[in-house]
Symmetry: D2
C-alpha cells in the first residue's frame, strides 16, 4: 500500500516514517513538505540515511489522491482543514495528527484555538482516534482525527473512573508534565536549550487548547462531568508525558477494586499496561514505544484517587497511535509495525 505524509519534516512526520519503514503492509511512503520540497529527506534528518526515493515533494493534493490510499497530516493548525476535504471527496483515507478535526463544536474550537477550522460537514464525519475506546467507529472511519498528546495520556488514565462513575464529576484535576518535543521543531525562545535546561515552566494556565478536547470525550462517557482543571508543564527532557490525575471518590474505594477495574478495562489492550499495587510508571519506561503505562493509588486520608499515566508524546501521543488507527481502519493487526520495546536507559 502507498501512503503519503504531509509535514514530513516535523517531529511527528519523522516518527511516522520510523515506524512505517518497517510496517509489514506499507510498501511506499511519499513525503511532502511545504518548506523543503525538492531536497532529500536525509538532508534534514541525516539519521535516516539513504532511503530510496525519499525526495521531499511539493504538496499536490490531486497527485496524492491518485497515488496514495492513505494520507497522514503531521502539520500545524489550519493545514488539514484546508487540504483534507478534497482528499476525502476523492475517496482517500485521511489520518490527521493536528487538532483541526478534534472538536465537534466549531465555536468551541474558535474560542480555544483563536482561529477558524473546517466546515461542520467534515467535522461531523471525523472519528476521534482514541483507539482503545473508539475501535468500532475507527474501523469505519474515512477521516480519522488523531488525539492530542496530553488528551491521550489524560483520557486513558481517566476512562475507567469516569465511565464507572466512581468520582465526583466536578473534582478532576490533571497536572501534566511534558518533554520539549511536544512543541514541535520550530525554533523559539521557549525551546532554546539554555532556557529549558535546568528549568520547569508552567504554560497556558487554564487556557490550553487540549482542555476542551479532554472534556468533550469525558462528557461523551458521562454527561455530568464538569469543567476540569488541566495544567501543562515543560520539563527538561525531549520525550515523554506524565499526567498526574487527581479526583475525589464518590464513596470509599479500595486499591484492589481500583486496580481490578483498570486491569479489566485494558485486558484486551496490548498497549496499555497497568502497574502492580504501589508501583507507578516513569516516562522513560515507555520511551520510543507505543505503550501507555498506568499506576493507581487511593488515599484513605483524603478520599482521593491518584492516577499516573505516561506515554511517549511522539509515539502513543502522535505517530504511534496514528499508525495504530491506520491498522484498525485497514483491518490489520492492531500491533502491526508497532511492537518495538521501549529504549532503556
Amino acid at each position: 500500500m502507498n501512503i503519503a505524509i504531509i509535514g514530513a519534516t516535523g517531529y511527528g512526520g519523522v516518527e511516522l516514517l520510523r515506524f512505517l519503514q518497517h510496517h509489514p503492509h506499507v510498501h511506499h511512503c511519499s513525503l511532502y513538505s511545504s518548506s523543503q520540497d525538492g531536497i532529500h529527506f536525509s538532508e534534514s534528518f541525516p539519521h535516516v540515511g539513504e532511503i530510496e526515493g525519499a525526495i521531499l515533494q511539493k504538496i499536490d493534493v490531486e497527485q496524492m489522491a491518485d497515488e496514495c490510499e492513505v494520507v497522514f497530516f503531521a502539520t500545524p493548525p489550519g493545514v488539514s482543514s484546508t487540504l483534507a476535504p478534497t482528499l476525502i471527496d476523492k475517496g482517500v483515507k485521511v489520518i490527521d495528527l493536528s487538532g483541526d478535526f478534534r472538536l465537534k463544536d466549531r465555536s468551541v474550537y474558535e474560542m480555544w484555538y483563536k482561529r477558524q477550522t473546517a466546515s461542520d460537514h467534515y467535522l461531523q464525519q471525523a472519528v476521534y482516534g482514541l483507539t482503545e475506546w473508539n475501535k468500532e467507529d475507527i474501523q469505519k472511519a474515512q477521516l480519522l482525527s488523531n488525539p492530542g498528546c496530553y488528551p491521550t495520556a489524560a483520557l486513558l488514565g481517566l476512562a475507567p473512573l469516569v465511565k464507572e462513575r466512581l468520582i465526583e464529576e466536578d473534582s478532576i484535576i490533571v497536572d501534566a508534565k511534558s518533554g520539549v518535543s511536544g512543541a514541535g521543531r520550530k525554533a523559539s525562545l521557549n525551546t532554546h536549550f539554555s532556557e529549558v535546561n535546568e528549568n520547569v515552566k508552567i504554560y497556558k494556565v487554564n487556557s490550553h487548547q487540549h482542555i476542551p478536547e479532554i472534556e468533550q470525550m469525558l462528557k461523551a462517557w458521562n454527561e455530568r462531568i464538569q469543567p476540569i482543571t488541566f495544567s501543562t508543564h515543560l520539563i527538561p527532557m525531549t520525550r515523554g508525558i506524565m499526567a498526574t490525575i487527581y479526583a475525589k471518590a464518590k464513596k470509599e474505594l479500595s486499591l484492589e477494586t481500583l486496580l481490578d477495574l483498570y486491569k479489566t478495562s485494558y485486558e484486551d489492550s496490548k498497549f496499555v499496561r497497568v502497574r502492580k499495587p504501589g508501583q507507578f510508571p516513569a516516562t522513560k519506561e515507555v520511551y520510543g514505544s507505543n505503550y501507555c503505562d498506568i499506576g493507581v493509588a487511593y488515599d484513605e486520608r483524603t478520599g482521593r484517587v491518584t492516577v499516573v499515566s505516561v506515554i511517549d508524546n511522539l509515539v502513543k501521543g502522535a505517530a504511534g497511535q496514528a499508525i495504530q488507527n491506520l491498522n484498525v481502519m485497514m483491518g490489520w493487526d492492531e500491533e502491526s509495525g508497532l511492537m518495538l520495546a521501549p529504549i532503556y536507559p
Copy 2:
C-alpha cells in the same frame, strides 16, 4: 562570630558554606563530617579551592560548644535529635536543616518517618523557621527547625489563601516537581544519571514525610484544614522545586483581588516576589538564590485557584532559609549574605 556546620560534605552543607564565606557577620566556619574527618574540604569539593583552615573535623559536641555560638546541622535523620540537646543545654544556638524537630507530635513523626525522634522537651522548644510567617518566634529561638524544601514552596504559596480562609478546607492539592539534589549526595539507583535523565518519576505517593509538616502549619493558620493531597515528582534537573497548588475557592474571586492579597502579604518580604497577572515563575528564575517566586491564577470555569510557587531547593529550601533564620535570630539584617541574584541562564 564563629559557627559550625555538621554534615559539611552534603549538598546542604556546601551550600551553607557558599553563602557564609561572604557573610558580613560570620568570621569563621568550622566544618564537621562523620565520614571524612581529617581531610581538607577541597578534596571532596575542588570547586571551593583553597579555603584556609577548611579541614573537616571529627564531630565533637563539647569542642563545638566551646568554640561556636551557632551550630548548623545539615545531616540525615536522627543525627540532630541525638546531638543537639547537649548543645542546647550548653547555651549554643542550633539551626537544624533536617526533619528531626519539625513535627510537634512525636507519634506523627514516628508514623511518617518510621523512626523515633527527640524528646518532647526539645520538640516543644523548637521554632519552625518559615521566616516570612514566624519572625517573632524566630527572633527568640534557641533551637530553630528549618523547614523542608517542599513545605517551604507549598506553605509560602498557600499561606495567604489559608489565612484569609478563601478556599475550601478539604480541597488542597499540591503537585510538586523537584530537581535531583533534593535527594542528597548519596549515590543510589534513584539518582543515577542514566535513570533520571530523560525521565519523570512520581515517588512516595501519598506517603511523603513532608505531608504532616505542611498540614501542621496549615492547621496552625486555620484549624479546619483537612488532609491534603501532596505528590512529589523527580525531574531531570539538579536544582529547583515547583509546587503547583490547586484549591477550590469558597466564593467567586477575581485575579485582581488575589494578586492584591499576595502582594500585600509579602510586601515586606524581600525574598518573596509575586508575579504580574498572567505571569508565572519558572524554577530557573530563582536558581542559586534565596527567592521564592509566586504566580497566581483564578479559573472562572472551575472556581479553582492555581498557585505556582518556585524555589531553589538548596537555598530557600535549605541553606539560604537557614541563614535567613540565623540573621533573624541574631538581630542582623534579614538579607545579610543572601542578596545574590539568580544565575540565568
Copy 3:
C-alpha cells in the same frame, strides 16, 4: 535457537534483550543474574513488561551448557574469564562483552586492568569481534571477544587511514566523549545526576584500559604504529560516544581522496555510514541503533586529518555489535534483528 544472557540486569544485558526479543532466529533467551536470581526481570526493568519466562536464574554453567547454544556475557571484569572456559570446553559458543579476552598479551592486560585474566589457551582462541574488519575469523569463532565501546568508535574511524598508511605512525590522538551509561548501572558518585548534569569531566587520563585494545588492533593493521594519545570525557547524556580523531597526513591529501577511501572501505558495511563532504555526524543520529556514522576533514593549513566517528555505546558499542557477531558466527544475515532506525529526536 536458545541463548543465555549472563548479567542480564546491567545495561548491556537489557539492551541485548531488546534486540533479541525480535530476532528472527532466536527462540528463547534465558536470563542469568548473580545478584537478583529468582525475581522476574520486569521487577528490575518495568519497561519490558510481561515477558513470559523472564525469571532471573542463578548462574549455573552446567545447565546453560545443556540448554543453550550460545551464551552472552554482559558482566564486570573477571566473570567471563572464570566461567567461559567450562562452556567452551563443552562446545557452547561464547560471546563476551567484557574486556576479559580482548588483549592477547596477559602482561599487557595485567598492567592496564590491574588484575589477572584468563589463561593463554583461551586468550589465543578468542576472536576480536570488530565485525567490519574481522569477518572471516568471526565466522569460525567459538569464543568471541566483543570490542569495547571506545575502541569500536576509534577503530572504525581509524582503519582506512592506518591500513592505507596515509598518516604518520606517531601522530594519532583520539579525544573521546561518552554518555554516562557506559559506566554501567552501578550507583556511584561519578554517575550521580547532580554531579554529572551541567558538567564535563575528563577521566583516566593516559590510563584508560581501552588504550592497549586500540593499539593492539592498529598494530595488527600496521606494525609501525606508535603509542597513541587517547582521552575520555564524561558528557551529560545517557547514550552515545563521539571519537574525534586527529592525525598528521604523510603527504598532502584531498578531501575527495579521503572520502573515496572511506566510502570504498565501507561500501559493503550496512552499519557504517560515511557522510558527505563538509558534513559530520552527531551522536543522536545513531541513537538506539547499530550504526557507526563517520565524517572526515582534511585541513591544508595543518596537514592534519580529522575523523569524527559516532556510535551508540550500548548498541554498536556493546549489545548490537555482539548480535552482529552472533549473526556472522551462525551464518545468518548480518543485519538480522538489528535494522532498527535511530530514534530522533
Copy 4:
C-alpha cells in the same frame, strides 16, 4: 561611576548585570537594546526582579558619551566596530565583548569572519584583554577587546608551555567542548532543546573564527608557532567550556616540572587555579564564577603533554573577564565584584 551596557538582553549582557549590580565601584548601569527599547529589563528576564531604572533604552551614542565613563558592548558582530569609534573619540572607555577588535590584521578578520570590521586606526589601539597575561597594556587601554570564550580557555592553558618553548611548535591540538549558552540567546535549530539534548555535535571543523585569535596570541608569545588544530563541540549543558589541549614535548618532561611551571606562572592570579598531580578540573567546578581551573598531565609513552582548562563561558569567557579588565583599567582591585564562589552542584 556610571556605565552603559549595549546588548543588555543577550546572555553576555545579563551576566554583566549580575556582577555589576553588586560591584563596589559601580553606581549605575544604563541598559541599551536595539530590539527591546522602552520595556523594563525584567520583562525579558523576570529573574532579576524589580531593579530601579532598568528600562531598556534606545541606543544613542551621544547620550551615552555624556552620561557614562565606560561602555560595554555585548553585541553581535559588526555593532561595536560601527559604534565604538564615536565613543572612543569622545574619551569614553570601551570594553567590547564581541570579536570586532580582536584581530589586528583586517584581512585575517575578513577571511575568518566573512565580513568587514573596524579601520586600522582603531584596531591598532585596541588592547587584547587576556587579563592574566596583558595587565600592563590593559591598565592603559581606552579600547579593550575582550577575548573570546574558547581563546580564553585555550590560551590560559597553553601560555606556560608556549612561552617557555617546551613544546613542538607544529604539534598543538585543542579539542574544545562548550555548553549551549555560548551560541547566544537567538533561537535556532542548533540551539533547540530537542536537537541538543542527548547529543554531542562537532561544528565549524577547521573553520572556527576563534582559530586566528588563538594563533595571534600564541605567535606573540613565540613567533615560531605553526597553525593549530582547533575543534569545537556542542555539549548538552548550558554553561561551561573545557579545552583539552595536546602538544608534543620537545624533550622529556616530568609532571613535577610541569606543575611547578604552571603554579609559578599563575601564583599571582586569583582566578587561575592549578590542580594537584593526577587531578583534573570539571566544568561544573567553575560554574557561575570567574575561575579558570587547569590540570596537567605528561605521558611518557607518547611524549605528549595534556592540559585541561575549564571556564564558565559566560563569566571568565565573557562578562567576568570584562569586569576583571574594567577593574584593571580603572586601577581597582582586580577581584572587585567578582569573588563569587562557583555554584555546586
